[in-house]
């Protein structure tokens, strides 16, 4: 009898062991994406791929983006803003630890902000910190940030991946061994292949359901399709080939999430290169373009038409697509008025993504129909950055601007559009000094109208954010308010 009891107990233990192994198998996830980060320091590079892996998972900021784009508390559990709007007092969460065991306190916040705004800072978004005049440690969990003037988007700025809190103890090795406060710890990086994260058991917030996560980098669309089909990866965020999505939708093993992004896909126009410096010519181009054909032809229907440089899901968005309806006859008339009755020749330089390459062929054909001969050249990213973005040696290009709320780039005459409009620049200066929500909304709407009516660029569509995932994965971000793959809320459905 005693023997059999032992036997039962042993069986029970064995069963538990089996159960826990099967549980362990479903607490691990493999997430694939197209681009691999160049290094792992989000505070010193513009590469969005860094945030795609690390934002919220490994690094956190004072505030953060929620999945719907709202700004919520991060490492700061609350904050007070002085009456004149220039002093922000952040109350930090107590007892937060970095992954190396050191505590996260006000000194670390001061270090991070001072590092980002210093003279020799390599932060890619230094403008986020430009208004800060002083960061003072009040006590170990209280930091006071002083601004030179009220800044309505300061809390928004602090939520960016470029504003995450890092520690002076671990800053040396951050590019290869990032140490943050997030729910996942960095484990291993096999360059060219994958990055591995493991659950942080000392996390201050609610513990994530996943024990470990692997990020894999697959740049080729065909390989991406094969990897998902073979279920080598559980999730593919930003799936590069929209033409394959209907197949995944039809397959019960997968789910397809179509969300919004901050990616305004535009026909970038060199506003200083004749004849594109003539607003009539730019208007003619805008009317020559048939957006729906581009969305259907290049993106297989995924994407929302836009008429200005603003995300359509934003409450202040104004639908200005009417300013540039597809009207080839009007386009020809405008070209004739501008002195180009027989059209002209220009360049169309395209980076690698399929929205650009395919969209470029479609736009070239649409422009040809009104007499504009756009000579296509396909460039790799490095060449594109060199020739178009830095060299400004281009007539037209197609690219998706994925930064959130980036209408301010139109106020920078040295930016690669080379759009120089003092009225718009003044408006942007006023905007950043305004904290009143209703007034900000008015100004943003006015700004959208100005660039739409100046036809600075051809406004095509808002990029859709498409994620293909195993049907049993839940809690993924559907939208992409910032570049991130937040795994803290992800779990497997049993």
């Amino acid at each position: 009898m005693i023997k059999s009891k032992k036997y039962i107990a042993a069986t029970a233990i064995a069963l538990t062991a089996v159960a826990s192994t099967s549980f362990a198998a479903s607490s691990d996830i493999t997430v694939a994406m197209q681009l691999e980060p160049p290094h792992l320091d989000p505070t010193s590079a513009a590469a969005g791929a860094i945030d795609s892996v690390l934002y919220s998972n490994v690094f956190e900021g004072l505030t953060r983006f929620a999945s719907d784009g709202a700004i919520i508390a991060g490492l700061a559990k609350s904050w007070d803003i002085s009456a004149e709007g220039t002093e922000y007092t952040f109350h930090l969460r107590a007892g937060v630890q970095f992954h190396d065991g050191t505590g996260m306190d006000a000194e670390d916040v001061k270090f991070s902000l001072d590092r980002a705004r210093s003279e020799d800072s390599t932060n890619a978004q230094k403008a986020l910190f430009s208004g800060i005049t002083d960061v003072a440690v009040v006590d170990s969990t209280t930091v006071k940030v002083t601004l030179d003037k009220p800044n309505g988007s300061f809390l928004f700025n602090m939520a960016w991946g470029d504003a995450v809190i890092v520690a002076p103890e671990s800053i040396e090795g951050i590019k290869n061994n990032p140490v943050g406060t997030g729910a996942f710890k960095f484990q291993n990086w096999v360059q060219g292949d994958r990055i591995e994260l493991a659950r942080n058991d000392n996390y201050w917030g609610s513990a994530p359901a996943l024990e470990s996560a692997t990020f894999k980098f697959i740049s080729d669309p065909t390989a991406a399709f094969a990897a998902v089909m073979a279920q080598d990866v559980d999730v593919f965020t930003g799936f590069p080939a929209p033409e394959n999505l209907p197949q995944f939708e039809a397959d019960a093993r997968f789910q397809v999430l179509e969300g919004s992004t901050e990616g305004e896909t535009i026909l970038s126009t060199n506003n200083k290169m004749p004849p594109l410096d003539n607003v009539k010519v730019r208007k003619a181009i805008a009317h020559a373009i048939d957006r729906q054909a581009i969305i259907d032809g290049a993106m297989f229907g995924y994407g929302t038409p836009i008429g200005t440089h603003f995300a359509p899901h934003h409450p202040d968005y104004v639908d200005l697509t009417g300013n540039s309806q597809h009207d080839p006859e009007l386009a020809k008339k405008l070209l004739a008025q501008a002195g180009f009755p027989n059209g002209f020749e220009t360049t169309l330089k395209l980076p690698p993504p399929s929205y650009a390459r395919r969209g470029g062929e479609i736009i070239a054909s649409q422009l040809r129909a009104v007499g504009i001969r756009a000579k296509i050249s396909n460039l790799e990213w490095a060449q594109w950055l060199e020739q178009v973005f830095r060299g400004k040696d281009y007539g037209l290009s197609i690219v998706s601007h994925t930064e959130p709320m980036d209408i301010g780039i139109y106020a920078r005459p040295e930016y690669y559009f080379q759009y120089d409009n003092p009225e718009f620049q003044a408006l942007m200066t006023d905007l950043s000094a305004t904290t009143d929500t209703a007034m900000r909304s008015e100004m943003l709407k006015k700004a959208q109208n100005i660039i739409s009516e100046d036809y600075v660029n051809g406004y095509l569509f808002e990029l859709a954010f498409t994620t293909v995932a195993d049907a049993k994965v839940q809690g993924l971000w559907k939208n992409s308010p910032t570049q991130a793959t937040d795994l803290t809320g992800v779990s497997w459905l049993d």
Binding site: F225, A241, A293, S365
Partner: protein
Amino acid sequence: MRQYRSLIIGTFLSLIVLIAATFSFVWIPYDIMQLSIPDKLQTPNWDHFLGTDHFGRDILSMIMVGARTSLAVALLAVGIGMGIGVPLGLAAATRRGAFLDEVIMRTNDLIFAFPSLVIAILITALFGAGAMNAIIAIGIFNIPVFARVSRGAALSLWQKEFILAARVSGKSKLRISVEHILPNLTNLLIVQGTIQFSLGILAEAGLSYVGLGAQPPTPSWGRMLADAQTMVSFAPHLALIPGSAIILTVLGLNLMGDGLRDALDPKLRKSRQ
């Protein structure tokens, strides 16, 4: 008749391509410069015999104009190879073993030693992608082929009595090369040219496939294949049609080359039987 079978089949296939390419200058079923997104991805039907691609372009029209691109690139590349390679080979043959011969032939060996497609990619990456650079890249790799072939044949001709007679009569080496050696190489060069021509078509398709050949909107079979890559799983005809076009053209040219060699070089034919 049996002995000419491969020549006949090969010539037939090559002629189809040639006629399609030539005909495309006069008439194609649909304008391929005009994209028509609503008509995209049709399978072969009565309106579009070979279906439409992802931009709604008629694939038959694309194949016809693409044949033009392929033939033009390959023809010019062979032209470069022959135009430079043959004189070099003839010059080397006049001075067998001398410094000139060594320089020419070792340079040829050097070019031969490089993997041709990789160098072609390098050239187009350095000087920009485009049909013209593809022609130059493929042409450069044809030079040593023609130089070798013509030198080898010329060397044995220089031993012949009629050449000796010409030398005794006081003709210069240059005149002998042009008047007596070159005409005797014609058969050989036609055969080699046909084979190089088919390799040129393959190379052009390869370069276009990686995006370094003819640039859009100029249609090219290689790029049609590349564009079809992510769509093979639901629209296989997009890849099958240009793929078949490449295979049949190269097969036709190779068969024609083999057939020509058999027909023009009776010695070789006998030895094969």
